[in-house]
């Protein structure tokens, strides 16, 4: 069976004038379907860049990024957008909900872009919100919610389209420990119950403990890996 994500000798360099920063150095990695994997490392270790390269938000300078058997190098912007829309869910550190839309509309928006009808969207979103126990947030705007609530809605948005993988970039970084734990438990529950693959970055040891696999990153290199 194909891994959902495979990276072979991937490098990424950021250039600012004459200065070069090696964000990723020869990363080789496989993420299998159904994994609940944490990418751990200090700030600047390349966690976000790794997630961006996997989703095609950033292109690798060297090496191969393969998504479910499909190399990303040859895909144009529209094809990458379609890949992200249909197969990847995103959870961001700063939640990044659309401020002018309610929680329901935020989650429905992805489904709308996928071409679902209004009725289907509404049904699906209500079902997910109920499942996550946040149906009381459906009609709230982002500014009417706490950080933890916003991140729960962001997770609902990420899984609404039933993606193959959810990429979460430090999803708990802006939350207190109680909310962080609740978010990670929620993700874990979705992983075990629905089989959704989660790949998330973190530098919080408490969060790492819950991952079934931890990939340690430092200065753009994989420096260790743990499996539980």
């Amino acid at each position: 069976m194909n891994p959902i994500v495979e990276l072979i000798n991937v490098s990424k360099i950021f250039r600012s004038g004459e200065e070069e920063v090696h964000a990723l150095r020869n990363i080789t990695l496989r993420i299998e379907k159904g994994e609940f994997t944490a990418i751990a490392g200090p700030s600047g270790s390349g966690k976000t860049t790794l997630l961006n390269v996997i989703s095609g938000i950033e292109r690798a300078d060297a090496g191969k990024v393969i998504f479910d058997g499909q190399p990303l190098e040859g895909l144009n912007e529209n094809a990458l957008s379609a890949l992200r829309l249909h197969r990847i869910g995103f959870v961001f550190q700063a939640y990044n909900l659309i401020p002018t839309l309610t929680a329901r509309e935020n989650a429905e928006f992805i489904l709308f872009l996928r071409g679902m009808t209004e009725k289907e969207r509404s049904q699906k979103v209500e079902e997910i919100f109920r499942e996550l126990g946040i149906e009381n947030l459906l009609d709230r705007f982002p500014h009417q919610m706490s950080g933890g609530q916003q991140q729960r809605v962001a997770i609902a948005r990420a899984i609404a389209g039933e993606p193959d993988i959810v990429l979460a970039d430090e999803p708990t970084a802006n939350l207190d420990s109680k909310n962080s734990m609740a978010i990670i438990q929620l993700m874990k529950r979705l992983n075990s119950k629905k089989g959704i693959t989660f790949l998330f970055s973190t530098h919080d040891p408490l969060i790492m403990e819950n991952a079934s696999r931890i990939i340690h990153l430092r200065d753009g290199k994989i420096v260790g890996e743990e499996r539980k």
Binding site: I57, E58, N78, F90, I98, T100
Partner: protein
């Protein structure tokens, strides 16, 4: 619907900026439509005045007189009247005969151009002599300056020396019925209006005319000219007012060019303003656009979202500007703008343009085609302007947008 909702909420999100943008577009439509209609109203007034003072909507001349203005090149009125009867939209027509001569008082003589016309008919409508009470065929209406130089006033007798059809010189006796002050130099200094038959009979040109000025009920001078020329025999030929009063036509064309330049300036202002405001609005949301691109929105969908904002703002502001312009236009078409005070400030007695005296009250007209066309153009312009920020945001990398 979701695009509309999203766009509407984005507009509502920064009310001040949206209000500025709305005001720029609505103000441009308002200014453009009001100025356009005022200008068109003014042109129509100029044409109305001009056609009544001069050639009518369409005029018939002897081709040679039209080119050389020599008294001898006349037309027989009986030859042209059948052609006029072929037109079905004639309001009125006037026969005129032009001759130059010397006006003489006891003290001196001065050159004068006599416009011999059907006075009793023309005083009803001719802007310069309107309302004059004509009592006798010897009555003459004289320009103020020529009257002053001859030291003659109303009720005094006056002799005009002019050439007859057989080459003799003869004197025609008139009584000054009215002295007019128009502000048009060529009228005040040296023009007199006299009775057509009286002048023609005295000069041996009975039944002859130089000009037949035809006023039409509903315009259409070009069609009328075409019809007339089908039935007129040379040297008689019909001319539209644009050909007969070239000075007026070019004065209007020149003024219209000024309006076009003004509109062009307005277009530039609105384009720059719209691009600027939309750019600010888009740049404020770069991170949000980055996130939208990250979750799968295509560049085309991002453009659609920004353009929808442009459509909502442009259309609502355009319609508002048009409605306000319509209300103001109703006032301006009934009351007009009195520019007499401004004229006095500029030391002007009256306004004449292309030899035509203009009423000092500018009245607007309502031109649906022009007003809607202008509004649609401004809306379109604001849409084009919103394309630039959309293009800019789509030219950036998703990761770069998200890092901002």
């Amino acid at each position: 619907m979701i695009w509309f909702k999203l766009a509407w909420r984005n507009i509502w999100r920064n009310r001040l900026r949206s209000a500025i943008q709305f005001t720029i577009i609505a103000g441009s439509v308002f200014t453009g439509v009001v100025f356009h209609n005022l200008a068109v109203g003014n042109y129509r007034n100029m044409i109305r005045q001009g056609t009544r003072m001069g050639s009518g909507d369409v005029a018939i001349y002897n081709e040679k007189w039209f080119r050389m203005r020599r008294t001898g090149f006349t037309l027989d009125e009986k030859d042209v009247l059948p052609a006029i009867r072929k037109l079905n939209n004639v309001d009125r027509f006037f026969l005129r005969f032009y001759v130059s001569g010397y006006a003489r008082s006891m003290e001196k003589s001065l050159p004068v151009n006599i416009v011999a016309m059907q006075l009793e008919k023309e005083v009803e409508d001719h802007p310069l002599i309107k309302g004059t009470k004509i009592r006798s065929r010897r009555d003459i209406i004289l320009g103020e300056k020529v009257a002053r130089r001859l030291n003659l006033g109303e009720g005094k007798r006056l002799v005009v020396m002019a050439g007859t059809a057989d080459g003799q010189l003869t004197g025609i006796l008139f009584r000054i019925r009215r002295v007019i002050r128009t502000g048009i130099e060529e009228v005040d200094c040296c023009t007199a209006f006299a009775d057509l038959d009286y002048v023609r009979d005295n000069l041996g040109y009975t039944g002859k005319v130089h000009e037949v000025a035809i006023l039409l009920e509903n315009g259409g001078p070009d069609e009328a000219k075409k019809t007339l020329n089908q039935f007129l025999k040379p040297p008689a030929r019909a001319y539209s007012w644009r050909e007969a009063m070239k000075e007026l036509a070019s004065a209007i064309a020149y003024d219209y060019m000024g309006l076009v330049m003004f509109m062009l300036f307005l277009y530039i202002v609105i384009s720059v303003g719209t691009v600027n405001v939309l750019f600010m609005s888009v740049m404020d949301r770069t991170r949000e656009f980055g996130m939208l691109r990250a979750v799968g929105m295509t560049p085309g969908q991002i453009s659609k979202m920004i353009l929808t904002e442009g459509i909502i703002l442009g259309t609502s502001a355009g319609i508002t500007g048009l409605l306000i312009a319509l209300i103001v236009n109703i006032y301006l078409s009934t009351h007009g703008i009195d520019i007499q005070a401004l004229m006095r400030l500029a030391g002007q007695e009256s306004v004449s343009y292309g030899g035509v005296i203009i009423e000092p009250i500018i009245r607007s007209t309502w031109e649906w085609k022009g007003s809607f066309g202008y509004t649609l153009f401004i809306i379109l312009l604001s849409l084009i302007a919103s394309w630039f920020p959309a293009r800019w945001i789509n030219s950036k990398d998703v990761a770069e947008l998200m890092r901002r």
